[in-house]
């Protein structure tokens, strides 16, 4: 009798699991939070209100865009897929980081290049500033150091020897 009851109980549990599990599996993913949406929106700009990141832009257009990001996230889109979608639909200018192609390369090359060129000119500037200072300070006649001018030292030795 006890075995029969246990068997019935187990069959009931299995039956319930069989009915409930597909329903659980099909349940939509939870709505993405504002933080999740804003993490992506922070890397985008709405062309309507230039120079304001999408996550903090107060216009209706930007609110709609954020909702679109939320929709895409809830559909399981990856961050990159969302960026690609927005770039295709609204142009590359919506991205905080322009794609590395064509003229966009200028945005990546020019700043470090300008820095390097600037550093080079600064270095040259410092180098040329130092020279006159050295010449002014070292006004006394230069004493030949050992091996500096072998002819001169040889001559001096010869003169000393013949005195």
């Amino acid at each position: 009798m006890k075995l029969k009851t246990t068997l019935i109980f187990l069959l009931t549990v299995c039956g319930l699991l069989f009915v409930v599990s597909p329903a659980l599996a099909e349940e939509p993913s939870p709505t993405p939070s504002d933080d999740e949406v804003n993490a992506i929106a922070a890397n985008m700009y709405c062309p309507v209100c230039e120079n304001i990141p999408l996550d903090v832009c107060p216009t209706a257009a930007c609110a709609q865009w954020r909702e679109e990001i939320r929709d895409k996230l809830s559909q399981g889109w990856s961050e990159q897929e969302i960026y690609d979608y927005f770039a295709l639909k609204y142009g590359d200018r919506v991205l905080a980081e322009p794609p590395r192609q064509g003229f966009n390369w200028l945005a990546y090359i020019v700043p470090p290049l300008a820095f390097i060129i600037g550093a080079y000119f600064l270095y040259r500037g410092f180098k040329t500033w130092r020279r006159p200072v050295e010449e002014l300070v070292d006004e006394s006649p230069a004493k030949p150091t050992e091996g500096q001018d072998e002819y001169l030292s040889q001559l001096e030795k010869e003169v000393e020897r013949r005195k």
Binding site: C46, P47, V48, T59, A60, A61, Q64, W65, E67, E68, D71, L88, K89, Y90, G91, R93, F103, L106, V110, L113, I117, D149, Y151, L152, Q154, L155, E158, V159, R162
Partner: protein
């Protein structure tokens, strides 16, 4: 003493030769350095001028304003929300009204109903085509807007904002009317105030 003098002379000559050699070397080195410096300066100034040129072109584009009346209208292909492609080049011989709008744009709502009424007036003749271009809009909101104002003329997204860039639009709503020879005849910045304002602009192009 004579030997000493001779030594001094020899040594002095040797020193002079050495110094003159050094000076020649230094001169050559300085010339090389100067040549390199000029080349570097030319390259740097060339790069600076190139960048300034790009900035100037971009600035002039933004300052240019919309396409001017009397100019040939830019060619474009509009992909409608239904998925059809409409090429502006295929519309030669017809009057074309292009309306840039957005669901988030309140002034666009002012003219939406009048545009639809005007379209219903001209559609049977087949001489006039209306095209709605959703500017920076989302699918869901754009569809809701079309549904709300019961718009039946073809509408589509401004994909990549290419069409608005070609027309150099300054915002929404903006409407461009193009004649049968694809010449721009009217630019309306902001909403049409009335139905008659729309019809008078089109009728003047349909008159024989």
């Amino acid at each position: 003493m004579n030997i000493s003098r001779n030594w001094k002379r020899k040594s002095s000559a040797a020193s002079e030769n050495k110094v003159s050699g050094r000076m020649t070397e230094e001169k050559e080195t300085n010339e090389q350095k100067s040549g390199q410096s000029i080349l570097v300066q030319i390259l740097v100034w060339g790069a600076v001028l190139f960048l300034l040129g790009i900035v100037a072109i971009q600035l002039s584009k933004t300052q240019e304003g919309t396409v001017q009346i009397g100019d040939k209208a830019p060619d474009f292909v509009l992909t409608t929300f239904e998925g059809d492609d409409i090429a502006s080049t295929d519309l030669t011989g017809k009057v074309v009204l292009i309306n840039f709008w957005a669901s988030w744009c309140k002034p666009c709502e002012v003219e939406a109903a009048d545009l639809q009424t005007a379209w219903e007036m001209y559609e049977p003749s087949g001489d006039v085509v209306f095209l709605g271009i959703a500017h920076l809009d989302t699918d869901k909101e754009a569809a809701a807007y079309i549904e709300r104002f019961k718009i039946t003329y073809p509408n589509g997204h401004d994909l990549g904002t290419r069409i608005s860039q070609d027309f150099r639009t300054t915002g929404v709503p903006e409407t461009y009317i193009i004649d049968q020879n694809r010449i721009l005849t009217k630019v309306k910045i902001g909403p049409f105030a009335s139905l008659s304002e729309i019809t008078s602009a089109i009728d003047s192009l349909l008159e024989p």
